[in-house]
């Protein structure tokens, strides 16, 4: 038996070796100047003909190129190009799974229902080929999120150019992810039920379970901490405001229940994730000051009588109502996260201003995640986490990166995929028939 296991382990080893990730870039050693590009600041503003300078990983100047100021260090000509803050992908399991169908590569879902103590960060694979493939599309940061159970665990925010998880961490244990029960459930067709939706008779019961857990966790924090309860202990940050609670809910009733009950149980900062029907209760969300991480726009309507383009415009409806909105694609496969910019671009087709759409994957997201002090917008004093594109980065025709920087470090835009591209392009160049 042992031999067999050894054999499997060995063969897996061979299977998953191959090109390792690009070598992480060293710390910024000299200042960088980007001049003449259109700077998209990520806060809704734009500077045509801009001057951007950074040193020791921090932006030292963001302004018009007409400014009279010394330009030291590496000079990059930006004329005709576009500069953007690094895109941020919230609620993603990047680095927790490599190949969807290969169970051995899957670390997304831990066993159990209320497991806030489960931490994504330590399982995050900084050398994932999927993570690497984010960078040539401008996605440079992510909130690595566990996916199982009712309370799935605790996420951390990382940057995508690191030797290991410890170096990757931007914000450790930033939030707890709570997947709210649904009033309807899909039929267990494998047990002979109809495949469609039917009322979830256990909804109230499931909601009570969450409520009881949250109240107990809160009470536990008031006690003396004897008899360590790891789940309750992990919840404490949500009651003192140091950790946000990300609640995943889509229906109106579910959203109202989730927010009302979480707040009642003492949760300080609630973020709504998904919120498919949030657009119908924007006043409630505004009153409760709840920001929304809306679902990716490249989705089908859930109900067939809805507008065919409802998923295309959903985040816009929330923005128009005055809510703070970011975009996530937790429901899609990880490899799709590199299309984050195009999810935002879709909103422009729905009549949203391009710079506003950009905010949904930069400045707004940083605010919602609580990393806006350093990331999400181009502003003096903030981290130089940004990239240069040949054209409009929200459109697939023109999203062409020439440079990308994380904390001022110029990262490689090569990947397993570009390596193969070059390798086989070479094959045919040398072997034209």
């Amino acid at each position: 038996m042992k031999k067999i296991i050894e054999f499997i382990v060995l063969s897996m080893g061979t299977v998953f070796s191959g090109a390792a990730q690009q070598t992480p870039a060293p710390s910024q050693s000299e200042p960088v100047v980007i001049e003449g590009a259109t700077a998209h600041l990520g806060n809704g503003e734009i500077i045509e003909n801009s001057l951007i300078m950074f040193e020791d990983g921090k932006l030292t100047f963001v302004g018009p190129a007409t400014t009279k100021i010394a330009r030291n260090g590496t000079q990059i000509k930006g004329k005709g190009k576009h500069v953007y803050p690094g895109f941020i992908a919230p609620s993603t399991s990047l680095g927790l799974i490599e190949i969807d169908a290969v169970r051995a590569t899957d670390d997304q879902e831990e066993l159990g229902e209320m497991i806030p103590h489960v931490r994504s960060l330590i399982a995050y694979n900084a050398e994932s080929k999927v993570v690497e493939s984010m960078r040539p599309n401008g996605v440079l940061l992510g909130q690595i999120t566990p996916m199982g159970g009712r309370i799935s665990g605790t996420s951390s925010i990382v940057q995508f150019d690191a030797w290991n998880w410890e170096d990757a961490a931007v914000k450790v244990d930033d939030g707890i992810h709570l997947r709210w029960p649904n009033t309807f459930r899909q039929g267990k067709w494998w047990e002979g039920e109809e495949r469609g939706y039917q009322p979830n008779e256990k909804y109230e019961e499931q909601v009570t379970e969450v409520e009881v857990f949250l109240r107990n966790a809160n009470a536990y924090g008031d006690g003396n901490g004897e008899d360590m309860n790891p789940a309750f202990a992990a919840m404490q940050g949500s009651f003192d405001g140091s950790k946000k609670v990300y609640v995943y809910a889509d229906g109106e009733k579910e959203i109202i229940d989730a927010i009302t009950l979480s707040k009642k149980a003492g949760v300080k900062n609630v973020v709504l994730v998904g919120g498919y029907h949030a657009y119908k209760i924007t006043d409630f969300l505004k009153e409760n000051k709840v920001p929304v991480l809306a679902q990716l726009t490249h989705n089908l309507p859930v109900f067939e009588d809805e507008d065919y383009d409802l998923p295309y415009k959903l985040p816009k409806l929330l923005v128009d109502a005055g809510l703070l909105v970011g975009l996530q694609n937790g429901e899609a496969s990880n490899f799709q996260t590199r299309n984050l910019a195009f999810y935002a671009g879709q909103l422009v087709g729905q009549g949203m201003d391009k710079e506003k759409a950009l905010q949904l994957i930069t400045g707004n997201t940083a605010k919602i995640l609580g990393i806006d002090e350093n990331y999400g917008t181009l502003a003096e004093g903030k981290s130089a986490t940004l990239f240069i594109s040949e054209g409009d980065a929200l459109d697939m025709r023109s999203n062409q990166l020439t440079h990308a920087f994380i904390d001022g470090r110029e990262i490689s835009l090569e990947t397993h995929q570009t390596a193969l591209w070059r390798k086989y392009s070479g094959k045919y160049r040398g072997n034209q028939r």
Binding site: V15, G18, E98, I99, D100, A101, V102, K129, V130, T183, F184, Q186, E194, R195, G196, Y197, Q198, P199, G251, E252, K253, H298, N299, L300, P301, F303, E304, D305, D307, Y308, D309, S333, N334, F335, R338, N339, F342, G345, Q346, V348, G349, L394, D395, M396, R397, S398, N399, Q400, Q417, T418, L420, W421, Y424, S425, K427, Y428, N431, R433
Partner: protein, 996 residues
């Protein structure tokens, strides 16, 4: 006491016949046959649905009608029953029943791999083909069930084993509780039954899909024919039975409108006209249903209203389901209006007791009563070819009839008796006396107030002394009343019983006093029963009912939320001043006009005149050919037939679902044509359907005329079943995949050689399909990922002298692009998908660009119901990944897939003479910012942004209207069901691959 029993028995015997067979010995007495006649007189007799005799006499003897008419001479030995004022109808017939035949038990799953082989010996190779089954062999008469059927008015049912695809023969049974099987079985081989549903008792995997079931039925008929020629040396009891049953009535359990058409199509191919069980939704496609010429068997399974008072929950109910609630009761009426013959069945009703209510609903929706009666009597008799024996009260028919208080289809009418084969069965006592009313009750000097109320047949009572109400119990049955009530203090009881006097209003009989002494009681009626409150309410209800002749919302095409009120028609259209992306050498033309005439692209140029054509100002907009998705799984009821490693015999054209809203979504994304591919469950998949997305049309009208023929092949992880538990089906490795192909193609060669030799041969649909491939008449689209298998597939084709037409997915195509170019194969690929399984580890988004650079015709396809609506953007990604030009990128979703599908002479580009399959875009179509504003197919506009806006409003209004109607139904006491939604499985390549 014993005397009374005897009396009751004697009364019953008067109306009962026992057709004791003359050759049966009798050892418990002496032979004494009852050869008397019975006559019902002075009745309104419905001899047939159209022949009614007032004041008629029905004379019958030994279970059969002897005479019927106004002046019937009665033989002397006639028992005459005067039923003046009552009506007589032939009793009802259900020919799709499971009565008395136990349904087999579901096979227990052992959780292991699927079973691919038959579990039987000496029968057909497929366990779901069981024409040898005979319902009569399993038949066991059950009078408890029979009673419920008789109470619903049924006298004869045709019963079969409701399990499997070929189900064997049915048995025609009279619901005669007094007789024995010798009397009540009218025909033990009454019809042969089929369905598309596999046996629940058998575990053999094939067929896993509807299209597989259809292919299996076709092959079964071919094989039966071959067997009949004596060419098969082994014994096959299934095929023998099938051949033996050939002359019987053939009945198909289709269960919905689409399947009615499917079943009829199979019948047509083999010269069989099935009578077909419908699903109750035939009204949605009535012309197609009529064209089948099939007699239908209709369930009255009208859905209950949904519980919609909670607005959150009601959101889960789709408009199409609300509509079906509203429209389904009109199904019989609409079919009757279209002269489609149908019978009714109890099938799919919760209980026979619901039957009358549903039937009355159909009548309220306008079904003529004569048609309703025909559907219950003469039509089912005709379907079975038994018109002389059942369904009417003409001379010689069985004396199967109903005695009612009046019009059998009136709500108030009472069904008194249901006679079967001359045997009376009482449903409600015809002679019952109404004893309801107010009485003064006296016993042993004590006086009480007795109030008898409730229903005449089973009244209840209230007893008062002075003003105090006493706890009481009352019963009234078989002409006797029994009353017990407590004394005021509740400690002791009075008990009373008496036989009702039919000629007096007084009640009397024996009383037992609280102290146990026996005496008599007397109750004198002081006032008659009045149904004060309820009767007024009834009247009001009735009035409401009449006032609200049911309001029916309009049927759309298809009959779902975004269906159109009529199917779009071709128009002449002139697009002015567009940026025209020709997908031809002409490239992109600025400020150009395109004229559409008679469904074709008539002219391209500047300043065109269109005559009476509708002019569309396309200034600032982009006009392109419609997008073609070379690899799609929308608009299908099934994707994979996973029950065999080859399923070349199955056809996607058999399972097109023209009502899938995914079609509308695709149109809104500018898609006009697609290849509906079989999935990747097996190395040799099924035959493709190539469709134009004509939303509103039937499946048949969506298919291309003279469609090029395609078949799906597949390689890799799916066909070797790597990603789920299945370890018994060959192949399990890529090595085995090659062997499957070479073996099948070798067999196909041999098959064709035999066919050409002129020797007799067994028609084999699977082999016929493979021969088409060998001869270049059918093209392969092959699902493929890694370079080794891609190369292997080309080598296999070359060995057998043909060419692979298209590799789909082909994510490692870039590694062998040179070999592909040499072979001459095209490629349909994803723009940027990878990481979902091991074999796509080396998938790169530059794949399309590299293959294109090597001269391969490359298409970008979806394999996905969401991505299909953004294929323009996916094409745009080839610019980002690999630097394809805009012109070439756009070809990858238009002319290139058209070339791959051999449709490039008809569609895929803007060229004079081609089909007018066009899309008007708001922006550069490759941009994420572009929206499709109009999608035109063959000159008809199937998607229009403006029209879409109107549809949204209309949906909102109609939902609201129907919700209010449902709330009203509930308020008036109608039954409701919980909100629910049928969510179709989102289909892609792997849908149903692991199905057992």
């Amino acid at each position: 006491m014993r005397k009374i029993q005897l009396l009751v028995l004697a009364l019953l015997a008067g109306s009962t016949f026992s057709f004791a067979q003359e050759y049966f010995p009798k050892n418990d007495g002496v032979k004494a046959e009852n050869n008397n006649y019975t006559a019902l007189t002075n009745a309104k007799i419905h001899v047939t649905p159209t022949e009614v005799i007032d004041g008629g006499t029905l004379l019958f003897r030994k279970g059969k009608v002897v005479a019927v008419g106004q002046s019937v001479t009665l033989p002397k030995n006639t028992v005459v029953i005067d039923i003046s004022g009552k009506s007589v109808y032939p009793s009802f017939i259900d020919i799709y029943s499971g009565f008395g035949v136990e349904k087999p038990e579901k096979a227990k799953s052992d959780g292991r791999s699927a079973e691919f082989d038959t579990s039987r010996e000496g029968f057909y190779w497929n366990d779901h083909i069981m024409p040898e089954n005979e319902a009569v062999a399993k038949f066991e008469y059950d009078d408890t069930v029979a009673k419920t059927l008789r109470e619903a008015g049924f006298g004869v049912v045709n019963s079969h084993i409701q399990d499997g695809i070929a189900r064997g023969t049915g048995v025609l049974v009279a619901l005669n509780g007094a007789g024995n099987d010798g009397e009540r079985i009218i025909d033990d081989r009454s019809a042969q039954y089929f369905s598309f549903e596999k046996s629940i008792a058998k575990k053999q995997s094939y067929p896993t899909s509807l299209m597989g079931a259809m292919a299996l039925l076709r092959q079964m008929y071919y094989d039966a024919d071959w067997y009949a020629k004596g060419t098969i040396e082994t014994k096959d009891r299934s095929l023998e039975a099938l051949n033996k049953n050939k002359g019987l009535v053939q009945i198909f359990g289709a269960d919905d409108k689409g399947n009615v058409i499917r079943a009829d199509g199979i019948g047509d191919a083999f010269g069989i006209q099935y009578a077909i069980l419908g699903g109750g939704d035939e009204y949605e496609r009535v012309a197609d249903i009529k064209a089948t010429n099939a007699k239908l068997i209709l369930p009255l399974n009208f859905p209950e209203a949904y519980e919609v008072s909670d607005p959150y929950a009601s959101g889960y109910v789709n408009l199409k389901d609300m509509r079906h609630w509203n429209q389904a009761p009109a199904n019989p009426k609409i079919l009757a209006d279209n002269d489609i013959a149908f019978s009714f069945t109890l099938y799919d009703l919760k209980t026979p007791a619901d039957f009358k209510e549903k039937l009355l609903k159909a009548i309220a929706y306008g079904l003529p009563k004569t048609k309703a009666l025909e559907a219950l009597t003469t039509v089912p008799a005709q379907i079975l070819g038994k018109s002389a024996a059942i369904g009417t009260l003409q001379k010689g028919s069985y004396a199967n009839f109903l005695v009612t208080s009046g019009d059998v289809f009136d709500k108030e009418t009472e069904l008194y008796e249901n006679w079967v084969q001359g045997t009376k069965n009482v449903v409600n006592d015809l002679t019952l006396k109404d004893i309801r009313g107010e009485y003064d009750l006296t016993a042993s000097g004590q006086t009480f107030k007795l109030s008898i109320k409730g229903e005449a047949g089973s009244p209840n009572a209230e007893v008062k002394q002075d003003t105090a109400k006493l706890k009481s119990k009352f019963s009234y049955a078989d002409g006797w009343m029994a009353l017990s009530f407590a004394t005021k203090d509740g400690e002791e009881n009075y008990r009373m019983t008496g036989l009702i006097n039919k000629t007096s209003d007084e009640l009397n009989g024996k009383a037992v006093l609280p102290n146990g002494s026996e005496t008599v009681f007397k109750a004198i009626k002081t006032s008659p029963f009045t149904e004060k409150d309820t009767s007024e309410k009834d009247k009001k209800d009735k009035k409401d009912h009449e006032k609200d002749a049911p309001e029916m919302v309009a049927v759309t095409y298809p009959n779902v939320g975004y269906g159109y009120s009529s199917i779009p028609k071709p128009e002449n259209i002139l697009f002015k001043n567009a940026t025209v992306w020709t997908s031809e050498d002409a490239g992109i033309l600025e400020s150009t006009d395109v004229l559409v005439k008679d469904g074709k692209i008539s002219k391209i140029g500047k300043n065109l005149r269109g005559g009476n054509a509708q002019v569309i100002d396309a200034t600032g907009k982009h006009l392109t050919a419609g997008i073609i998705d070379e690899h799609s799984h929308i608009g299908a009821l099934a994707i994979n037939e996973a029950g065999q490693n080859s399923s070349a015999e199955v056809k996607m054209t058999d399972v097109v679902d023209p009502e899938d809203v995914g079609i509308y979504y695709a149109l809104a994304g500018g898609v006009t044509s697609l290849q509906l591919l079989h999935g990747s469950a097996n190395p040799i998949g099924g035959q493709s359907a190539i469709l134009k997305l004509k939303w509103g049309e039937s499946a048949a009208h969506m298919s291309y005329d003279n469609s090029p023929k395609f078949i799906k092949f597949a390689l890799g992880e799916n066909v070797k079943q790597s990603n789920w538990d299945s370890h018994t089906r060959f192949p399990q490795t890529r090595m085995g995949v090659e062997q499957v192909f070479t073996n099948y193609f070798q067999r196909a060669k041999e098959y064709e050689a035999k066919k050409k030799s002129g020797e007799p041969y067994r028609t084999d649909e699977e082999m016929e399909t493979l021969v088409e491939i060998l001869n270049g008449d059918r093209f392969i689209t092959c699902h493929s990922y890694v370079q080794s298998e891609i190369n292997m597939m080309m080598k296999v084709a070359e060995k057998f002298g043909f060419r692979i037409n298209t590799f789909t997915h082909i994510l490692e195509g870039y590694k062998v692009a040179d070999k592909m170019a040499e072979h001459g194969v095209g490629a349909g690929t994803f723009s940027d998908w990878w990481a979902y399984k091991y074999e796509v580890n080396d998938a790169i988004p530059y794949n399309a660009a590299i293959m294109h650079d090597q001269g391969i015709t490359v298409a970008i396809n979806s394999d996905d119901g969401e991505m299909i609506r953004r294929l323009n953007q996916e094409a745009g990604k080839t610019i980002k990944y690999g630097g394809i030009t805009e012109l070439e990128a756009w070809k990858m979703v238009t002319i290139n897939p058209a070339k791959l599908l051999h449709l490039d002479n008809r569609t895929g580009s803007i060229k004079e003479g081609k089909d007018a399959d066009l899309v008007l875009w708001s922006d550069n179509p490759l941009s994420v910012y572009a929206n499709a504003e109009k999608t035109v197919i063959d000159g008809a506009t199937y998607f229009d942004l403006e029209k879409d806006k109107q549809q949204r409003e209309a949906i909102k209004e109609e939902r609201n209207q129907l919700i209010n109607m449902m709330l009203k139904e509930k308020a008036e006491g109608g039954e409701t069901q919980k909100p629910k939604q049928d969510k179709k499985e989102a289909m892609h390549c792997e849908s149903g691959v692991g199905a057992k």
